[in-house]
Subunit: 354 residues, 5 copies
Amino acid sequence: MTPPPNTSTFGLSPGTLVYVGPEVAKDTTLKIVKYNEQYHEQHTIKQIKDCQISGDKPYISWLDVDGIHESGVIEAVGQLHNIHPLLLEDIMNTRQKPKIEFFNETYVFVSLKMLYWHDEMGEIEAEHVSFLLGSNYLISFQEKRTGDIFGPVLDRIKASVGKTRRNGADYLLFSLIDLIVDNYLEILERMSEELEELEGLILAGKHKDPISELYNLKRQLTLMRKYVLPLRDMLSQGLRENSKLIGKSTFPYFRDVHDHVINAIETIDSNRELLTGLIDIHYSTLSSRMNTVMKTLTIYSAVFMPLTFIVGIYGMNFDNMPELRQPNGYFYTLAGMAVLAGGLLIYFRRRGWM
Amino acid sequence: MTPPPNTSTFGLSPGTLVYVGPEVAKDTTLKIVKYNEQYHEQHTIKQIKDCQISGDKPYISWLDVDGIHESGVIEAVGQLHNIHPLLLEDIMNTRQKPKIEFFNETYVFVSLKMLYWHDEMGEIEAEHVSFLLGSNYLISFQEKRTGDIFGPVLDRIKASVGKTRRNGADYLLFSLIDLIVDNYLEILERMSEELEELEGLILAGKHKDPISELYNLKRQLTLMRKYVLPLRDMLSQGLRENSKLIGKSTFPYFRDVHDHVINAIETIDSNRELLTGLIDIHYSTLSSRMNTVMKTLTIYSAVFMPLTFIVGIYGMNFDNMPELRQPNGYFYTLAGMAVLAGGLLIYFRRRGWM
Amino acid sequence: MTPPPNTSTFGLSPGTLVYVGPEVAKDTTLKIVKYNEQYHEQHTIKQIKDCQISGDKPYISWLDVDGIHESGVIEAVGQLHNIHPLLLEDIMNTRQKPKIEFFNETYVFVSLKMLYWHDEMGEIEAEHVSFLLGSNYLISFQEKRTGDIFGPVLDRIKASVGKTRRNGADYLLFSLIDLIVDNYLEILERMSEELEELEGLILAGKHKDPISELYNLKRQLTLMRKYVLPLRDMLSQGLRENSKLIGKSTFPYFRDVHDHVINAIETIDSNRELLTGLIDIHYSTLSSRMNTVMKTLTIYSAVFMPLTFIVGIYGMNFDNMPELRQPNGYFYTLAGMAVLAGGLLIYFRRRGWM
Amino acid sequence: MTPPPNTSTFGLSPGTLVYVGPEVAKDTTLKIVKYNEQYHEQHTIKQIKDCQISGDKPYISWLDVDGIHESGVIEAVGQLHNIHPLLLEDIMNTRQKPKIEFFNETYVFVSLKMLYWHDEMGEIEAEHVSFLLGSNYLISFQEKRTGDIFGPVLDRIKASVGKTRRNGADYLLFSLIDLIVDNYLEILERMSEELEELEGLILAGKHKDPISELYNLKRQLTLMRKYVLPLRDMLSQGLRENSKLIGKSTFPYFRDVHDHVINAIETIDSNRELLTGLIDIHYSTLSSRMNTVMKTLTIYSAVFMPLTFIVGIYGMNFDNMPELRQPNGYFYTLAGMAVLAGGLLIYFRRRGWM
Amino acid sequence: MTPPPNTSTFGLSPGTLVYVGPEVAKDTTLKIVKYNEQYHEQHTIKQIKDCQISGDKPYISWLDVDGIHESGVIEAVGQLHNIHPLLLEDIMNTRQKPKIEFFNETYVFVSLKMLYWHDEMGEIEAEHVSFLLGSNYLISFQEKRTGDIFGPVLDRIKASVGKTRRNGADYLLFSLIDLIVDNYLEILERMSEELEELEGLILAGKHKDPISELYNLKRQLTLMRKYVLPLRDMLSQGLRENSKLIGKSTFPYFRDVHDHVINAIETIDSNRELLTGLIDIHYSTLSSRMNTVMKTLTIYSAVFMPLTFIVGIYGMNFDNMPELRQPNGYFYTLAGMAVLAGGLLIYFRRRGWM
């Protein structure tokens, strides 16, 4: 929920490039992919100046910048492709929330989050991803932390399967967003399973203290919602805006992702509701157990207090206590106490306490 | 709440047909119905290629695909009728939420959920249903699990009763949706009855632990809401959109279904509110019982603790205890204790604890 | 909250007339009222065919159908006045929520609920009322259960007082709706009074178990809200729609009813909020009473447990217990215990437990 | 929250003038003020017919009707100034919620509430105030209960200070509304102070039972919100509507009042939230006190129960109990009990219960 | 939450200048900065009449008024620059919520809050800041309490770094707003850290009474939300409005601040949700501790009550008690009690109470 610790940006001139995410030791990797239906080429770039791509080519160019922690690299890429300084700031700012921005017909800027689910910690980790879609090219930026997240699409292009090779840069953008959104659904699936397991334990009253676990799940869902929700508006804005950069033929695909996003949001919301319900059930279980405990205590006290009082009476040392002198006094007393105890137990059973 | 376990679709090319619902052993059944006011014909299809229907006939054609788990069959039906691959994905995706889509004037795609109420488990089961309405024909897709859900409409067409035979394919679509929505109201009726029964038990304080039952009902209502809510927007969008495929004369009928859907949503919402109220009442009952238990315990203790102390005093073995030597000491002590107990009981009654 | 038990309508052809409300033994009564500023006539109809009224008369015609449980009668009235079959279904469907519908310039359909407050049961009963406003006539439908609810307006027309006689059929419709809405405010008034009474008892801590009463009131308010809320949109839609059937001169009157409806909704909402507050107060009272009970128990135990222990010590039968042999041992022990008890009481008073 | 007891208006013809507020013994006072930059005149009217004012004068005319309980007076004023009967009903109806209505270019009707804060009862009292703004004149109606609320504006006009004398009737209306809204802020100030005091007591745990006080404050805030909220829409509607009666130059002033109203609403809402927080804190305090009480009780019991049991053992009268015969048995027993008690106390301290 | 104590403004003529903030001892400081790309000048003003700046100069003029508690100074500045009296009221009114107002093409008025976080008190302090943007000049007003908040921007202009020197007065305005909004994010960062610390303590069950701390944090967040929320609408209104005073080239910058504001609001909201969750966890911890306490008490009682009763029996003084005479009666009794105690402990362990 709380953003990662950061270098303060207070008082800096706006547009100053500062990386605020967790520290990264590795260098930035730049990869260029060029393809059309017939042609395919893919290579890693050594010198930043070689990374320039443009849209006036007979193939689709895709520049993948893997690592956003080196401001020098980002700045250079930005200058070569004429990117607005504030956009560069957004690309490096890992705390930037998902958004879409249209810059006339020159390019479309899209930024969102790739999510990872760490099973052992039960935590979601977010990686900041940005796209710049030009007329015939795409530039993607990702954090260099968990390996290349665009692997499956790269493989698809290389293997020449799927529709990616036959379609434009907008379809490539769709494929990458689709990959990320499908991953949301995967994560939600796993959280749902964990939730269902917890639910079983709680309903069976077998989980002693599920609150902190429920609380963590709720927190992760809240975090996830924060990342997923803006995507809904982002995508519908993308469909509304009549940019030439996103062709009409890719519209059904974007609508499809939009549907998946809505699905994800609904699953998040229903899971959150489920969590609230489970918390209620847990409290109810606690309360009714307390009730049982208290009833047990009360019945014990109600039965033994009078008995102990009676034996106390006959333990007194008065000189003149006629009962003590009767031959069967002791046995009558024992019998009387048995009758009293029995009567009390019957009474409590009738009141429904036992 | 949680979707059924599924084959992962992560990393697959979009538009790849994957069935994600529960496993089904039976084969897909294809049925064709052709009718107009005078004419009626109905037969099951053996070979997929015979299932092609079209709108340029003097009768209404209805192709009912019973089973959506065989991607081969769905793909073949799709190719024969020129259906967009993404729609085929939606038809097979049992997790797809209800939606309507207009494809120019060629066809209208509608997808929703048929619901079943399992009394013994107190659970709702959803079956994914899709429709493709063309100018003079309708294709319906349903999961092959619980038998043909369109029975009553088939019977009506066969028996030549009702308005179905006199009207177009849009009226047929309405009849089928109406059937599904009427069923929602039936289910809600049953849930309301169950709720009312629970309510009686809870208000009478006779239900020991109603929380998990209430929780399950709430969950089923949440689930149902998720399926029913999108229908409202879907139907109003259907009425707004000026498609030639849905004639003006069927508008009042669609408005009627729309009304029923709103009615269903309101019943769901008021039942949910009722449930929340019942949970509150249950807690209140728990609390006030706890209060009674605690009061009983306290009164017992308050009465017997001083008495036991007094008898303890006279059970001491000091050599010099003048009271013990008095002939009536024992009787005075008993009397004193009776007065003390009586006084305490009067005091507690005055404080309203008894 | 739950609709009354009903004959199932599942699988029936849409537009089939089925009465779903509580059983009614009486016959339907049909009454015709004709009036203008000079003229007035009022009579009950024996044969259904005589009930036809039309708008091309120099007077206002009002047909009041008292009883909607006989589908034959409703169907006949419908045929004579050319009413759409779905509207007839709505007229008979006592579960239909309030709505307005404009059928070109032919007629306006309005349906709402007359409410009754049963003091002894603390329950609201709803009667389904529908209106059909034509250019110069009005047809009203009501359930035959609690007598003619339009009495006051009928009397006003007969007595030639008020503006009703000088105005058109739209003003008549307004008068009848106004009558129904005024009744809502009456009922709310009574509920408010009951609530205020309950509030007094709860704040004074005199009501042992107000939860089920509060719960019932909340339920009735929820029910009422369900009936009243749609009226707001209904009336504003009626004012927006530019129908010739509702004259501009009656607009201020309809706006006035609209205001009353909003007033009713606000009163419902603030009463509901009040109820929630009272439930909280009740719980708080329960909690703080529990606190008092527990403190009493704890103080008793804290005082008497050490004392009982001490007297137990001197009740032991060891041969060598020097204290027991001292002449004043008993009195010193008594004094010591008095000091201990006093000290404990002072301590608890300082801690604020007494 | 609940409206004052009233004469029922059920079944009456709409537009019938009925006063529903608390009973008033005093007569209505009618006051006329005429002024422009040079001229000023102010006098009380004896006969109703003299109260007629109009806009075609070289000065601003203001008729202040102090008292709305005499339907005869209101009706006469209404007839002299051509006011719609439904408006007269609204003027007299103390339960009418704030609203604005434009009657072409003839007049603007504004109704709102003057609020009073009764410190001793902690209650808000509302007085119904209405205005009728014509082209060059203003008629104001107020309840005759707590003295003339327009005093400060009257004084300002008389003293020839401020902008009121230089401006039109619309500025006069603004001044009067501003007066009323400023008073809202005053009341909120006082409530805030009271709340802050309560907060201090609750946080310090010094208030035994703050719930009913918090509840009352919440209720008053809810009540106030009901009166203030409609003003926001009312004023923005007044600014939107392009009436000639409200000049463009007074727009900044009305926007200013609008700002104050929003400020008041926000203060109400944040105070309500604060109240909810305080209720939570109070419950938390109750709970943790209960915890302390229970721990005390448990520690007492845990320590003294075993001790009392031990002394009980040696109080038994068996013939053969070797310990009793040992010379130091008593002292060993005392020492053993001290060790046991000490051990238990150390154990409970380690568990954090002490 | 509650506004600072103030001089009442009730009954005053609108536009009367009253300072309502905390008392300030220092004099107002007036500073003028003039700059363009080549030129830079900065000096403090002695006499108010020298403070007049205007837009028809070849450089940007910025007048910074440090101190808003002297109505004379504000009035003089207002007259020299032709500012509407109501705006002057807003400038001095520290309770004024953030807003933007466009006065044709003459000037834009912006008012917002600079926030300070007092670590030791855990409280937010707000300083009222207003801006008046003309075509080529800017006037800023700030409270003279905590030193000049515009320091970093002043330094940037002096040092000739950043884009401020190359851009117009609108960019200067943006820089100052950006400074204030960046500070919001700083404060939120610190609150998040504190929250995370609290969270750790609560989840570990180490914080005894975190409620008042959580409550204070929630209150500060509510307060902050009140100050930050209006900025969102304010900035989007500023972007919507097509004022010549704010150039198209500064739009991306303002959109950027807008993004930061939304980010701040979302962090506030998610922190508030987190707080609610922590409160729940705290209650749950309290409840389950209570449960443990009660179980301990009950087990103690359940074990020792029967034992004490048994020893009480053999402490009775009846003449005829055969058991007492048996040589091994004492040892049999001890053994029996050990068996009973063991059995009870096993029983409670089986029930899961130990």
